[in-house]
Amino acid sequence: MSDKYLSIENVSKTFGHGRKAHEVLHDISLEVRRREFISLIGHSGCGKSTLLNVVAGLTPASEGAVILDNREVFQPGPDRAVVFQNHSLLPWLTVYQNVRLAVDKVFRHAKSAAERHDWTLHNLQLVHMQDALEKRPGEISGGMKQRVGIARAIAMSPKVLLLDEPFGALDALTRARLQDQVMQIHAALGNTVLMITHDVEEAVLLSDRIVMLTNGPSARIGSILDVPLSRPRARLDLAADPTYIGCRAAVLDFLHRRTRFVEAA
């Protein structure tokens, strides 16, 4: 595990105090390499989102630490851009303005106004939203909103891109298209990505490694699966690929049979 970039070290999270204390995450440790694509998978309510929020800095860890690029994470910041589950675009701003707001904040000193304008357009082109710049979030579909959310996140040039079930609320076709776009962006920009999902195919298709969490309370890492598929990956070719099928079976097996294995052990 050389060249660790993001490391989650013995993170536990307990909500509440005393008798009402409720431990959600127990002693989670994970090392992520630069440019790696990691999926977190587990049953609903197992604490995946809490773990992502700890990495984002939105929720402080009760114990342990998150270290990114040799610096400990204490608070949220644009170096860990989050794509939220429900897109979280600001409805009073246009598509362009939503991305520009983030670009202006992050690159206020580093880029001139013209450069920030070009950078905003460039990122919206990456998600193929250049034709809806003046639309407001209320006027575009759910998939388009999520694409703008992704554009806003990658426009911050984050060290780690955090995706919180980004495609959970979308229909299957839209989801497939967005997965392909995320793969293209990942190939082009080489982002380090941490993605939450509960879709097994999505996890296998996109990830270099799949981190499987046991059921809460006190969720911990049950197993980590390497996905040794070469990139670029083509959705249709993979359907019959034995490695792909093997990985999918391993994740399904974990989710359906072994989620309680820590308690049993």
Binding site: L58, G77, F84, N86, P91, L101, R136
Partner: protein, 307 residues
């Protein structure tokens, strides 16, 4: 929260109303860009006329019926109130020439209304600025809310006119005293609605602001004010209505030029017809003020409620 239920209900209706806006815009845009104007324009005109008829005719019919009843009820000789025809004939000079100025307080209705509107404009503007400011503080800080909210809940129940003697004692002059009464009347709904709007900012927007590491002023201008704008304008709309209610009453007591004083002066000179005419004007101006703030709110909060 009980206290702001009414405001919230108004907000909800404002939001649903607002949500229909984009459709209306799209329709007018497509009409403007129509490549074949003659049939398009004709249809639009007929459509607009139809709509106008549906909107304008029912209230006109109601008005005619009410005036008819009023005419019947007051046409007997010795009636204590004048009939509509008497009102029109007795106030004809005031109706046709609202701009005369014979010096002192003997002026046309336009000047009285203008004086009242000036007082409202000053008092209400102060109330809007201070109200939004205090509302942001109360909505954002739990401690400010705990410290101030109980006070506000008591103070806001004091009737506007009850402040007037105190205000006169403090300012020793009718004009600033009246402005203070407007201020103190309009500020409560603005504070309370702004605070509710700030407290209701969705966690998602707060998270966006935290990920972007917004500082205080950035958070205020990019997240808080736009997110709370529909609530703020609901408060401002209630505030302008209350201001107009209060100014007429306050002017009855402080004298000088103003529509409230005009009503009181007419009563003292037993010119009942003048009072009725003044009330019509007061109602129309109040209606226009309410609509003006509502329109301003719709323009400013474009897009905020949808999505």
């Amino acid at each position: 929260m009980n206290s702001s239920t009414r405001e919230l209900v108004t907000t909800l209706s404002a939001i649903t109303h607002h949500a229909q806006q984009p459709d209306a815009d799209v329709r007018s845009d497509s009409a403007a860009n129509d490549p074949n104007p003659p049939p398009g324009v004709w249809h639009v005109i007929v459509g607009r006329l139809n709509e106008a008829v549906r909107v304008v005719v029912p209230p006109l019919v109601t008005l005619a019926v009410l005036i008819g009843i009023w005419q019947l009820a007051t046409s007997a000789p010795g009636s204590s109130l004048p009939s509509p025809t008497t009102v029109v004939s007795e106030t004809w000079e005031l109706i046709v020439d609202p701009f005369y100025d014979h010096g002192g307080v003997d002026k046309g209705l336009f000047w009285h209304l203008l004086a009242s509107l000036k007082r409202v404009a000053v008092g209400y503007s102060l109330a809007a600025c201070a109200g939004v400011g205090i509302g942001v503080l109360v909505g954002h800080s739990v401690w400010a809310m705990r410290a101030l909210d109980p006070l506000f809940q008591v103070l806001r129940t004091i009737p506007p006119l009850a402040w007037l003697p105190l205000s006169l004692a403090a300012f020793r002059n009718g004009h600033p005293a009246a402005i203070f009464v407007i201020f103190i009347t309009a500020i409560w709904p603005i504070i309370i609605n702004t605070a509710v709007g700030i407290r209701n900012i969705p966690q998602d927007y707060r998270n966006v602001a935290r990920v972007l590491s917004f500082n205080g002023p950035e958070y205020l201008s990019h997240i808080m004010l736009p997110a709370a704008a529909p609530y703020i304008f609901t408060g401002m709309r209630i505030g302008i209505g209350l201001s107009w209610l209060a100014i007429v009453a306050a002017e009855m007591l402080i004298g000088g030029v103003g529509i409230g004083f005009f009503v009181w002066d007419s009563w003292n000179s037993s010119r009942i017809s003048d009072i009725i005419l003044a009330l019509v004007y007061v109602g129309i101006v109040g209606f226009c003020l309410d609509r003006a703030i509502a329109l301003l709110g719709r323009l400013v909060t474009r897009g905020t409620a949808s999505g």
